[in-house]
């Protein structure tokens, strides 16, 4: 196992830039997820690390060694492909042994290591099957075993769960994470599924249109997003256009004055407020609002609020039977209250989708 360093990594094509200046340090044994919508450059970044795409500029270091110009077979990465990419004409055992064979590991040791990793991947007794005789989940585990058996310096996962059904995906997620922690694998993981990234990774890299928008732990990204894109991409968020007035006051485009976190410099003109941080009250502090819609979602209920023309979504645990709030209906007047520290002003870029554009 080793560290992985991306230093100003770029990939430009004739008319577009797929990846623009990605800087990233993955520590030994760390699990980092590249997260973003399709076309954000996350897969291109991973393929540059594996050696399938040549960087236009920048450097890639694996365990301290500069591999920027090394061919894929000389990089010591273990990759799991979205399609699994098993060798259809080889048995499970032959698939898994392939990397050891390429490394000229002696027969006896090879057999022992293949048996060991098959046991680890819960594939005992399936060594003589062909890939097409296995279920999707088993094929996925063969792909994992094949990449792991060679003890790669860096473990690369390209959306490995996207071809599994929802139930299996949740299981495999936990399995991969447990395996990664037990073996201390330095891992780079590409996904477009934020739940996958949040539950599995130590740190997340949010990418969009080729650029890194923010790097941080799940909590940092959720609580302290760097910009409106990250706020909207990780979890749900009310994103309102407007202008900061006095410190701690924000005037929305439709005229409502909302309390917000007083921030010293002018960081941006988008107000970001998580739906679950808005409390609805009948009396006391709060801004008067009218309920535009109430959506019952079982454990939670979603309230669409209208504050003098400004739309906000609030989410709260569904009140118990008998609670006065259980009877809230469209048209009712309520007070919306939040801690001003929860409403942050963020910068946005053209093209970032905001609530009031919808």
């Amino acid at each position: 196992m080793g560290t992985l360093t991306l230093d100003g990594l770029c990939r430009r094509y004739a008319t577009t830039t797929a990846v623009e200046r990605v800087d990233l340090e993955v520590a030994e044994g760390e699990f980092v997820a590249l997260l973003g919508p399709s076309g954000c450059g996350k897969t291109t970044t991973l393929r540059m690390v594996a050696g399938f795409v040549a960087p236009s500029s920048g450097r890639i270091l694996i365990a301290g060694r500069d591999v920027t110009h090394a061919p894929p077979h000389g990089r010591d990465t273990g990759m799991v492909f979205q399609s699994y990419a098993l060798f259809p004409h080889m048995t499970v055992g032959e698939n898994v042994a392939f990397g050891l064979e390429m490394r000229k590991v002696a027969r006896a040791e090879r057999d022992a290591r293949v048996r060991e990793v098959l046991r680890l991947a819960r594939l005992d007794g399936l060594g003589d099957r062909l890939p097409r005789q296995l279920s999707g989940g088993q094929q996925q585990r063969v792909a994992l075993a094949r990449a792991l058996v060679v003890n790669p310096a860096v473990f690369l996962l390209d959306e490995p769960l996207s071809n599994l059904d929802a139930k299996l995906r949740a299981e495999v997620r936990i399995e991969i994470r447990a395996l990664q922690q037990r073996l201390g694998l330095t891992t780079l993981f590409v996904t477009h599924d934020q739940e996958e990234a949040l539950t599995m990774a130590d740190r997340l890299v949010v990418m969009e249109r080729g650029r890194v928008r923010q790097i941080g732990t799940a909590e940092a990204l959720y609580e302290r997003p760097a910009d409106a894109f990250v706020a909207g991409f990780i979890g749900r968020c009310n994103l309102l256009r407007g202008t900061p007035e006095a410190p701690g006051q924000f005037r929305t485009a439709s005229g409502a004055l909302l309390p917000c976190l007083p921030q010293p410099a002018r960081p941006g003109d988008i107000l970001a407020l998580r739906p679950e941080r808005i409390a609805l009250r009948a009396a006391g502090d709060g801004l008067p609002a009218r309920l535009a819609a109430v959506t019952y979602l079982g454990a939670q209920t979603e309230y669409h609020l209208d504050l003098a023309g400004t739309r906000l979504v609030a989410v709260a645990p569904t009140p118990a039977e008998g609670d006065a709030r259980r009877g809230l209906a469209p048209g009712d007047a309520v007070l919306a209250h939040w801690d001003p520290a929860e409403a942050r002003l963020l910068p946005a870029e053209p093209g970032d989708l905001l609530d009031d554009q919808a």
Binding site: F52, S83, F98
Partner: protein
């Protein structure tokens, strides 16, 4: 209900008719080969295997068969690797605007009438013999070179089709596991292309084995292929001997297809 039954009946008739049309000449040849009389007429005056014996005794058929076999094997052995390499280049090399032209060139032999190609090759061989001061017409190498032209378009088509269905991620996975490019080709790419290559071998062999038009001008005394020997025989006599030879040929090709189908499902490749 009545309409659907009518449709089904019409469909059945159409299918039977199509198969009948395809199989009728084959069946006719096989049936005629055992008719006893020399001039084919119906009903037969008797049933005999004498024509098979006659075919066996006439040395030109046995020799033609041997030449055709050598020729078809040689052309397949040379043409299929060349065609496979060409298909790989067509699908993967950075050819830019040359791709279209190269594709047309490689499929060209299919478009040129065999007699025309044969004449062109004949004229070329005459000139080439003058240059190298040695025989090309009527020699096995000369025939093999000509028949390689027949095998290439088939191979290129079939292998290209296989390449299109190939998961390139498997090749990347092999490289990722430490395999050098040639090892990737030998251990991963080629085995995954096997159905296409096997089918290409089969079709190349049949194309070469049965070819008459292209070969006609290129054979020489003592170096005659089976189809040319059959044509020559036809110039002097018309009797069921030819049907007997053709029946043997049909049996050989049919057996080849059946054997191939056991290794790769032909209906999935072609």
């Amino acid at each position: 209900m009545a309409g659907s039954r009518l449709h089904r009946a019409a469909f059945g008739v159409a299918v039977t008719g199509a198969y009948g049309l395809i199989l009728a000449p084959v069946l006719a040849v096989i049936v005629i080969s055992v008719f006893a009389q020399e001039i084919v007429s119906f009903p037969p005056s008797g049933i005999t295997l004498a024509w098979y014996a006659n075919a066996w005794e006439r040395r030109e058929f046995a020799r033609g068969f041997l030449t055709s076999l050598q020729l078809a094997l040689g052309a397949t052995a040379i043409g299929v690797p060349l065609g496979t390499a060409a298909a790989l280049a067509l699908s993967r090399a950075r050819l830019g605007r040359f791709r279209g032209g190269l594709n047309t060139l490689l499929l060209g032999p299919l478009a040129v009438p065999g007699v025309v190609a044969g004449t062109a090759l004949y004229l070329f061989y005459v000139r080439a013999e003058f240059w190298i001061d040695d025989d090309i017409k009527g020699t096995l190498p000369g025939l093999v070179a000509a028949h390689v032209l027949l095998t290439i378009p088939w191979t290129v088509r079939l292998v290209l089709a296989s390449l299109q269905g190939l998961d390139r991620a498997a090749e990347e996975a092999a490289a990722n596991l430490g395999a050098r490019p040639f090892t990737v080709f030998r251990r991963i790419t080629l085995p995954m292309l096997r159905p296409g290559v096997v089918a290409a071998c089969l079709f190349s062999f049949i194309q070469s084995f049965e070819n008459l038009e292209l070969t006609l001008l290129l054979v020489g005394p003592g170096r005659t292929t089976l189809p040319v020997a059959m044509l020559n025989y036809l110039e002097f006599r018309v009797d069921p001997t030819l049907a007997a030879v053709a029946t043997v040929q049909i049996a050989l090709v049919g057996a080849l297809m059946l054997i191939t189908d056991r290794f790769v499902s032909l209906s999935r490749v072609v």
